[in-house]
Amino acid sequence: MVDIAEYAGPKPAWCPGCGNFAILTALKQALVALDIEPHRVLLVSGIGQAGKLPHYTRGNVFNSLHGRTLPPATAAKIANPALTVIAIGGDGDGYAEGGNHLLGTARRNNDITYLVHNNQVYGLTKGQASPTSDFGFVTKTTPQGADMPLNPIALAIVAGTTFVARGFAGDVQHLSQLIMQGIQHRGFALIDILQPCPTFNRQNTFAWFRERVYKLDDQDHDPTNKRAAMEKALEWGDRIPIGLVYTEQRVTFEDRLPGLARGPLVERELAPMEAEKLVVEFL
C-alpha cells in the first residue's frame, strides 16, 4: 500500500486559510486510497495559485503555461495511457484563458481528471475579476463590476463532459471521494471545486458557502439523467449542490484513435524501415 508520506512535499506558499490546502490534502488522500504510487501519476498544471499545487507534493510534473493545462495533459495520456493524468488549474486558467481547450477536451472525452480550483477571483495577480466572479464584483480592473459569471457545471455538461462534479474545499472527505471517482471514471472528469480565497474574495467565504452547500448524494438525484443534471447545474445562490452532478459512459478519445491500436506511443520501436510501405506508394 502507498503511504501518504510518499506524497509529502515542501511547505506550500499559499495564504493561511486558503482553500488550496484542503484540495491538496484531498488529492493526496484520493491517490493513496486508490493505491497509486507517485511515479505513476502525472500532474499537469497551469499558472495561478492552483498551478503551484504539483510542486507541493510528489509525482511527475508538467507545470504548463496559463490556460494551457488540458492540451499537454491529454496528449501525455495519449502517449502513455498507463499514466494517471491529473490536470490542475484555477478558474481563470480553465474558464478564461483555457476555455477553448475545455470545450475541445469535453468533446473528445480524453481519459484524464481535471481539478479546477474555483475561488471566483484571480489570486496570483492579486484580486482581479475571474470568469466565475459574481456579477458586479468590483475589482481594480473591473470598476464597472464583473460580467455575468460563467456556469462551469452547465457548460461542461452541454459540451459533452462525461463526469461533471462540484466539490467544496470545506469538506475534504467528500472532495477526496469525488476525486477518487473522477480518477476511476473512464473519460474526461471535471471537478469544479469551490475554494474560498481569504485574501481577495471576501464575498464567497467558507462561512458563505457552508450556509448554502448541500450534498447531492443525500438527495434523490440521478446523475445519469441529463435533464435532472442540468437542473442541478443551474442551481446557484441560496442553495448550491455539491457532489456528482452528471455522468455518462462514452467511448474515450484514446479508444477511438486508430494509431493507438499498436500500443502506447512511448513503447514503440522506432523503425525507419516501416516507412518502406509508404515509399513504394510514391514510385
Binding site: 510542486h55 492540451p71 491529454t74 502517449a79 514503440r268
Partner: protein, 573 residues
C-alpha cells in the same frame, strides 16, 4: 534550348486541373524521366483560374520553366491568360467543339474533348482526361504507361477504367488527327523507378521514417496535406494525429506528447504559428524536444493563402518571449525535405529543444522526381535518453541537471521510478519553480550552452559552381532549384557565378557564409520576400553587408529565367 517538354494544364477549380497535371507528371516519372511540377491555384473550391505546370527532362531538374510547349486549356480563360507563355512551336489544345470563338488562330488546336469523354469515358466530366491523352499522343508517349498512371490516380474501378478509355480516346485522336504537329517526341526511358512526390509528402514521409508517432495540427494551407497524409496512415503505420480546437492546443499537445516520450510534431503556416509562439517558449524552457513544420505563405494575417513567400525567417528566429536555443532548417528540395525532417527530429532529441522546419507553399505543393529514399541510411538519434536501468538512484534524478554540455540526461515519466518534473516557470535542477537569481543565471547559461555543440551540426549546402566566383548568389530554402539552374545559364553565357545556399539556418553558419561571401566580388541575396531577411541576418551574424538583393514578393515563386534576368541587370549596372 532547354531539354525536355513543358506542359501546362489550365482551368477553373473543379475541372480536374490538378488530377490531369499529376497524372501527366506520374506518366513521365514512370517512364523514367525527371519531372518537376508546380501548381498555382486560387483560394476557391470552385471557379477561379488554376494551373499546373509539368516540366519533363532527360536530365535532373529542380525548377519550373517559363516556356510552355503544350497548353491544355480546359476553359477559354486559360487560352487568353497563357497564350503569351507559349514557346515558338508551342500549341494550345482546346475543346474543338467550343473553339469557334477562339480568335488569333495559329497555335490553337481544337480537339473534341467533351464529346470523346462522353462517348468513350461515359461522362463529359472526363474531358480533362481526354486532354491528357491528347498531350501524350502528341509526343508519341507509351500508351500503356499512360494507362497505368491514370489507374494509379483514379483506381481500377469503373471510374478508373472510364478515365483510361477517355485518355486512350484523346491519345488516338492526337495520333491520327494531329500527327506531326509537335516536334518533341518522348518515349519512355526505362531505368530505376523514381519516386514522384511533393514537399508536403516528403515531410510526412520523413516524419514516419524518423519515428514520429504523434502529430497535432489545426488545418491551414499550405501545411494541411502533411497531417492528412499522416492521418491516412494511422491504421497501417500507427501515428496518432489529432486535430484540436486551435493552434495553441496543437502546439501544447505536441509538447505534452513529447514530454511523455513520443516523437511529436505539429505543422502550420504563419498566422497559425503566431498562435503557437507562446508554446514554443514552453518547449524552450521545459527543454522538450519537438518539431514544428512552418509552411510559409504570403502574410501578414491571412495574406495570400494559396501563394508562396519566404517572409517568416526573421519571425521564427526570435519567436516567443525571452532567449532560448532552437534550430531552424529550411529544405532546399523535395528530397531535402525528407532528410531534413529526419534531422529535425534527431536535433530536437539530441539537444532537447524545439526545431522549426521552415518551408513554403511552393516547395510544399511542388512535385519532383527523386531517387527512391534509402531508408537504411536513416539514423535515429534520441540523444541522452535514459533507460530505467541507467538511473541508479531514481530518487535523486534531476530532469534539468546542470551539465557541461548543457544537455540534461532525460528520463521519461513512468519508464522507471524516477520522477520527471518540469516547469514553464524558471526552475531548479529538479524542475521545481524558483526565483533565485543565481539559479536563474545558471539555468539560462545551461540552456544556451547547448548551442555550442548544436552549431557543429549545422552546415550550408556544398557550394554550387566554382569555389571562387565574381558573383556569388546567396539563397535559402525552396529557391535552390531555380537558383541552380540560373547559375548554369549564367555560366553558359560567360558570367562567372556560383551559389551559396542555406538549408540549415540556425544556429547561423556564420563562418562558412562569411568565408564564401568574402571571396566574391559581388554577393547577391535572392529571396522570396520584400525586405531581404537573409541579407539582414547575414549582416547581423557576420557584419557583412551584401552587395545587393533580388527580391520577389508577389506571391509567386522564382523561375530560373527571372533570376538570370535580374542578375544580369545587377551585374551590368
Amino acid at each position: 534550348m532547354e531539354p525536355g517538354l513543358n506542359v501546362m494544364v489550365g482551368g477553373e477549380a473543379g475541372q480536374g486541373v490538378q488530377s490531369v497535371g499529376f497524372i501527366l507528371a506520374k506518366a513521365f516519372a514512370r517512364g523514367g524521366f525527371h519531372v518537376f511540377a508546380d501548381q498555382d491555384y486560387e483560394s476557391k473550391v470552385r471557379g477561379g483560374h488554376n494551373f499546373f505546370r509539368v516540366r519533363v527532362s532527360a536530365t535532373e531538374i529542380a525548377a519550373i520553366s517559363e516556356e510552355v510547349d503544350i497548353l491544355l486549356a480546359l476553359n477559354e480563360e486559360s487560352v487568353d491568360l497563357h497564350r503569351t507563355e507559349l514557346a515558338a512551336q508551342g500549341i494550345v489544345i482546346f475543346d474543338g467543339d467550343k473553339a469557334k470563338g477562339i480568335s488569333g488562330g495559329g497555335n490553337v488546336v481544337g480537339a473534341p474533348l467533351a464529346r470523346l469523354a462522353q462517348e468513350k469515358g461515359g461522362s463529359s466530366v472526363m474531358a480533362n482526361t481526354v486532354a491528357l491523352g491528347v498531350a501524350l499522343g502528341l509526343v508519341g508517349y507509351d500508351q500503356e504507361t499512360m494507362a497505368e498512371a491514370v489507374r494509379h490516380h483514379f483506381g481500377t474501378g469503373d471510374s478508373g477504367e472510364g478515365n483510361v478509355r477517355a485518355a486512350i480516346a484523346g491519345y488516338e485522336y492526337a495520333i491520327v488527327e494531329l500527327k506531326g504537329l509537335l516536334k518533341q517526341q518522348l518515349t519512355t526511358m526505362g531505368g530505376d523507378k523514381r519516386m514522384l512526390l511533393n514537399g508536403s509528402e516528403a515531410i510526412a514521409l520523413g516524419a514516419i521514417a524518423a519515428g514520429c508517432t504523434f502529430m497535432a495540427a489545426y488545418p491551414m494551407t499550405p501545411a494541411t496535406p502533411i497531417m492528412e497524409l499522416l492521418a491516412s496512415k494511422s491504421h497501417e503505420l500507427g501515428p496518432v494525429v489529432v486535430q484540436p480546437e486551435d493552434e495553441i492546443a496543437a502546439m501544447t499537445m505536441t509538447i505534452g506528447a513529447a514530454f511523455a516520450g513520443a516523437r511529436a510534431m505539429t505543422a502550420t503556416s504563419g498566422s497559425g504559428f503566431a498562435l503557437m509562439v507562446e508554446g514554443l517558449g514552453l518547449a524552450g524552457i521545459t527543454e522538450t524536444p519537438m518539431v514544428t513544420i512552418l509552411a510559409q505563405r504570403p502574410a501578414p494575417a491571412v495574406g495570400l493563402p494559396t501563394r508562396t513567400e519566404q517572409g517568416d525567417l526573421q519571425f521564427v528566429l526570435t519567436a516567443a518571449p525571452g532567449e532560448f536555443p532552437r534550430a531552424v532548417l529550411a529544405p532546399a528540395t523535395v528530397d531535402d525535405a525528407f532528410w531534413l525532417t529526419i534531422k529535425a527530429f534527431n536535433l530536437a532529441d539530441k539537444y532537447q529543444l524545439p526545431v522549426i522546419v521552415l518551408t513554403d507553399h511552393y516547395l510544399a505543393s511542388s512535385y519532383a522526381t527523386v531517387s527512391r529514399f534509402d531508408l537504411s541510411k536513416v539514423s535515429i538519434d534520441r540523444g541522452e535518453l535514459l533507460s530505467p536501468r541507467e538511473i541508479a538512484n531514481p530518487a535523486e534524478y534531476k530532469r534539468h541537471k546542470i551539465t557541461a554540455s548543457g544537455i540534461s540526461p532525460r528520463a521519461l515519466p513512468l519508464q522507471g521510478k524516477a520522477l520527471v518534473v518540469t516547469d514553464s516557470d524558471e526552475h531548479d535542477e529538479a524542475g521545481h519553480l524558483i526565483e533565485d537569481a543565481d539559479m536563474r543565471t545558471q539555468m539560462m547559461l545551461k540552456r544556451l550552452r547547448k548551442l555550442d555543440r548544436l552549431k557543429d551540426d549545422i552546415t550550408p549546402l556544398p557550394l554550387y559552381g566554382p569555389d571562387k566566383a565574381e558573383t556569388t548568389l546567396v539563397g535559402w530554402g525552396s529557391t535552390y532549384g531555380a537558383l541552380k539552374e540560373a547559375i548554369d545559364t549564367l555560366r553558359n553565357e560567360g558570367l562567372d557565378a556560383n551559389l551559396l545556399h542555406l538549408n540549415e539556418l540556425w544556429p547561423f553558419p556564420a563562418q562558412a557564409v562569411a568565408q564564401t561571401i568574402d571571396r566574391a566580388n559581388r554577393s547577391l541575396v535572392v529571396e522570396n520576400n520584400a525586405t531581404g531577411q537573409l541579407a539582414r541576418l547575414i549582416r547581423s551574424e557576420t557584419g557583412i553587408k551584401v552587395s545587393g538583393s533580388i527580391l520577389k514578393f508577389d506571391g509567386r515563386p522564382f523561375t530560373p529565367a527571372h533570376i538570370v534576368h535580374e542578375v544580369k541587370k545587377e551585374v551590368t549596372q
